[in-house]
Amino acid sequence: MDEAQKIINSRARRDFLKGSALGLGSIALGTLLGCNNREKTVAHAGSVAEPDAENQPLVDPHFVPRAKRVIYLFQSGGPSQMELFDYKPKLYEMHGQEIPPSVIGGGRVSGMVSNQNSFPLAAPMTHFKQYGSNGAYFSDLIPHTAGIADDICVVRSMFTEQINHEPAVIFTQTGNQLSGRPSMGSWISYGLGSLNHNLPSFVVLLSKGGGDQPISNLAWSNGFLPSHHQGVQFMSGKDPVLYLSSPDGVDRMDRRRALDFIRQFNLLQKDKWQDPEIDSRLNQYEMAYRMQMAVPEITDLSNEPRHILDMYGPDVTTPGSYAYNCLLARKLAEKDVRFIQLYHLGWDHHGNLTSGITRATQQTDQASAALVKDLKQRGLLDDTLVIWGGEFGRTSFSQGRLTRESFGRDHLPNAYSIWMAGGGIKSGMQYGETDDFAHNVVRDKVHVHDFQATLLYLLGIDHERFTYKSQGRRYRLTDVSGDIVKSIIA
């Protein structure tokens, strides 16, 4: 498009905004009079003007979606696949022996073990049993997850390109190893918009008490998308969303009046500078105002009956625990929040794996399974995609010395396991296969981009047609690759 055309278009936008400024003013009046929180417009269309005319949200999905919302239980640090889902009997037999060099082949190992001169295989610290109607193997560490074997699809053939936490997390979340691209949740918030205009369409819940490996908020960044699509983090404690509540003594009506007045200034500024980020700011102010009503309802667990709380486990009453966040996730899903992103830290077991993974599974197993069961009994699992998984796997050989009591496992990008449930995913399925050492995928490889393409497909989006132009090129969540894993779609 030539520059002259762009200016003409931007004039058109200016006119539109002048018109809508009046319209929005009258909504404000309505809320003043009625003091209820509904609006004249439906927020499911991202109504901000975009800097580039081709950057239009999809609004409606490309095709009929299977899933309406996503709950992503991100297990940060790299859960060990052979202690949880990927049963490898050979490892018990070969405990203490060197991993055959051909298994590692030309693949790289991390700098943490590259000067190790021995790579002894470590037998998994746990035992496996068969569960569910198709006899899938699950470890003793995750009895609750094993209990929902018939509701989930375990993908044992994931692989990634990154070997260190930060780039691998960013890669899984944004499709690129370097930070700066939009997170999955942002893409979906931007593309499909909100189903509930009183709550953000992308909510982030970070659980406490996991481990020391930090997670950067770049993982839920909006990247180059308008900034009101970034993940909104719900904190534990008195104020779940920072700076949301009005200061003491400020009435809700006063807040409304102040917002309307500030809006006028912002629109003037927007008229002058044409900066789309001003729209984002306006959106965020309005969202915050509506959230003042909606969020306390979400975080109030007093109406949850005892047996539901018990299902999630003893931690559920501790704000900020993984179990608490899982329950919150269910409540947000009930309110149709599009993308609910949980992060649990504490899966990075380089040494002393036995106690580390026992702790991590105690914190997460029961609540993860409870979430799936709770969604199912409420009839929400059909159109809610639940994902459990980390950024990479771990090695079958020990990092550091292998002793009877203790050993560690290093990062492994070649193979790891995740599970998914609901939202159009086949249930009671095991997909993909690794070699005897859970080191390389031997069948049905699923690349991170394949996983992302599948996720978008379930939400009704063709990942190849869903782009955003920034700095002169079009970007996709799946970059330039990604094949939908059709075999796991119901």
């Binding site: 004249k40 009929v64 509930n196 009839g379």
Partner: protein, 465 residues
Amino acid sequence: MLPDSLDQWFAYLGRFHPVIVHLPIGILLLAFVMELGFYKKTTIPSPRQAVSFMLAVGCISASASCIAGWLLSKQGSYDESTLAVHQWMGIGVALFSGLCWLARRKKDIRTKAKPLYTVLMALLFLFLMIAGHNGGSMTHGDDYLTAEMPQWLTGENKDTTRFIRKPITDVNEAYIYADLVQNVLGDKCYSCHSAKKVKGGLRVDDEKLLFKGGKHGTVIRPGNAEESELIIRILLPEEDDKRMPPKKREPLTPEEIDLLKWWIQHGADTRKKVKDLSPDSSVLPVLASFAAPLANNSDSMAALSAVFDKELPPADQKTIDTLTSLGILVAPVAKNKNLLEISCVNYPEFDDDKMRLLTKIADHIVSLKLDGTRITDAAFDDISQFVNLVRLNIAHTPITGAAMAKLQQLAAIEYINVVGTKVDDEGLQKLNVLPGLKRVYCWNSLVTGKGLALFNQHKAIAVAE
């Protein structure tokens, strides 16, 4: 190390056939070229001695080649008809080059013997070509020469020569060998192992021959897939010369390999149907992949209701605007679709009066989310008009079981959510008549375990943890 028995000597000498065989071809062809010059009286000076020398050497080398060829034919299994033609043509070449030599020696060839000599030479040329071509076909495959031939030369569309798979409608009723295994073999193996070409002595298009195996023995060991040559060869790495199908040929898919393994492991029976082996869940997805349409590149919507394919004129915009202004979400199910989904998540005040508004767009509603609203049983006269309704969520509303009878007309409905309502056993049973119903969620309602069990006798679809 030298071969120590006579048989081994013969086998060893036989391997010289491909080396020797090129001598008569080259030498005799040169003789033809020189004779062409002789007839045209060109500048080649007196080729007589040269040509007769060549014919002599050609005859000797052709004879040696025949002997080596005969030895070679004893060890390999070649297509018999091709081999017979090749053999007799080869012998013809040896014989006729000798006769030509005798004729050429006569000094008066220019006058008397010339016609005879010409005929002999022409026949020799013909035999040489046929023998050479058949020899090539046996070593490289009979489509070796034509495989890369441009389409305008062959005059045929390559794709049409491919094996066409028989479509499978019901996997459980399919014969494992005849319908599934042969489909795979036909697609991936026939081009080298069937009536038209028998590489390695193996034919897979015929039951008896398949079980007989190839020149290295049987390829199928019933009950033992891991040790069956057929499976071993298929699983070799692509770089391996023994891998089947060889490099550049389309390999078998993992599902196809699993099918063959499963079939052999279960005794490689050729008469049984899939259901006879009562496949376990690990092989079910594999089998299911054979029932699916083979060319599945489109956005598969097989699992979605046929309602979504319906083309309707756009719904009344005024009604949509009215609903939207109330805070009700009204959204098309997808781009370019006029079917609508409606959600009252931001409008819990929705009640029976407002349901009236929806009747104006009754045909367009496929998904209706009214959980937590104020609707009562009175709203169901309106809901019963939503003929294309697929999903109905009326959880946590004051409705009762009596309302369920009104849903019996909704033929398209697949999902009903009455969690946290006063729907009872009697109400649940009313839903039994719905043909497409996939799930009823009735947790936390008045439905009892007994009512649930009774309902699930007909269809195991009601859920209440």
